[in-house]
Symmetry: C2
Subunit: 136 residues, 2 copies
DNA sequence: GCTGGAGGTGACAGTCATTATCAACATGCT
DNA sequence: AGCATGTTGATAATGACTGTCACCTCCAGC
């Protein structure tokens, strides 16, 4: 019966959340929660592990970061806001954002052909980046 | 220094492995290891959980089943041998195998454009199958 | 058919990422 | 400043999966 119609959960700005965001901003590659937690600790910006997980989840929910599943663990990365996919180096993790309008069209059309609705998709490319090829 | 040049690890045919294979043959959908373990137990064909995991891994290594990661757990399915992708109902798990030569070409070309080599990819579609749309 | 031994099995403990708990704490509104 | 409420973090719990190791089974050779 409250008269306040606000739906936003009122996210507070805390030192911890800012620190996690800063970590993501500082790197272009996908990072795991454990990774970020350790990095923060090293830099003296100690943040509890549970809090790192919560912050990452909040960012993912807000659409500010992309989540991928790599070898059984979730990895996060700050990304552009448009829909896109990733080309990730399986050795060093270097990531390139790629767009594929053709693929988007194909997935939608294919799903419709089979009568499926509300279609989403996951598409990720893995390979060896130029640097790692040279390094052998 | 052995003079025997055999590389095959000599997979034995055991009741347990046959039971796991039979489970996969009995269903067209992706099943988790725990799922299969429970089903076998129900049917009186009790098999240790560790053994189910080992059998599934062996089948996956042999290329006889496809593996997907769904909600943090590996799911397995008996599949055709050619390279293909899946269109999975996110409600009931009904699966359709799909092929997309165009997508294969696109991924290879895109990766090469960025100088990446030895490219692999993951592509899965999720949606609501016709039956679940009606039930919805 | 019997036997030896290599491969297979399974109960259980260990690992690892992630989530729940909950008391102490910080933030932002008034 | 004061207070209600969202946040934090140490720790325990969960859940999927893997390692261990003593016992068992398949099958080749007799």
């Amino acid at each position: 019966m409250s008269s306040s119609p606000d739906v936003a959960p009122a996210q507070r700005s805390t030192r911890q959340r800012r620190a996690v965001s800063a970590q993501l901003a500082a790197s272009d590659d996908f990072r795991s929660a454990q990774d970020i937690h350790e990095a923060l600790r090293r830099e003296g910006e100690a943040v509890g592990l549970a809090t790192v997980y919560r912050a990452l989840q909040a960012l993912a929910d807000a659409g500010e970061v992309d989540v991928l599943n790599h070898a059984g663990e979730a990895v996060y990365r700050r990304c552009s806001e448009t829909h896109h996919h990733h080309l990730v180096c399986r050795q060093c993790g270097a990531t390139v954002e790629i767009e594929g309008p053709a693929v988007e069209r194909w997935t939608t059309a294919t799903a419709q052909q089979h009568g499926y609705a509300e279609v989403s998709h996951t598409l990720e490319l893995f390979g060896l980046c130029p640097a790692c090829q040279r390094a052998g």
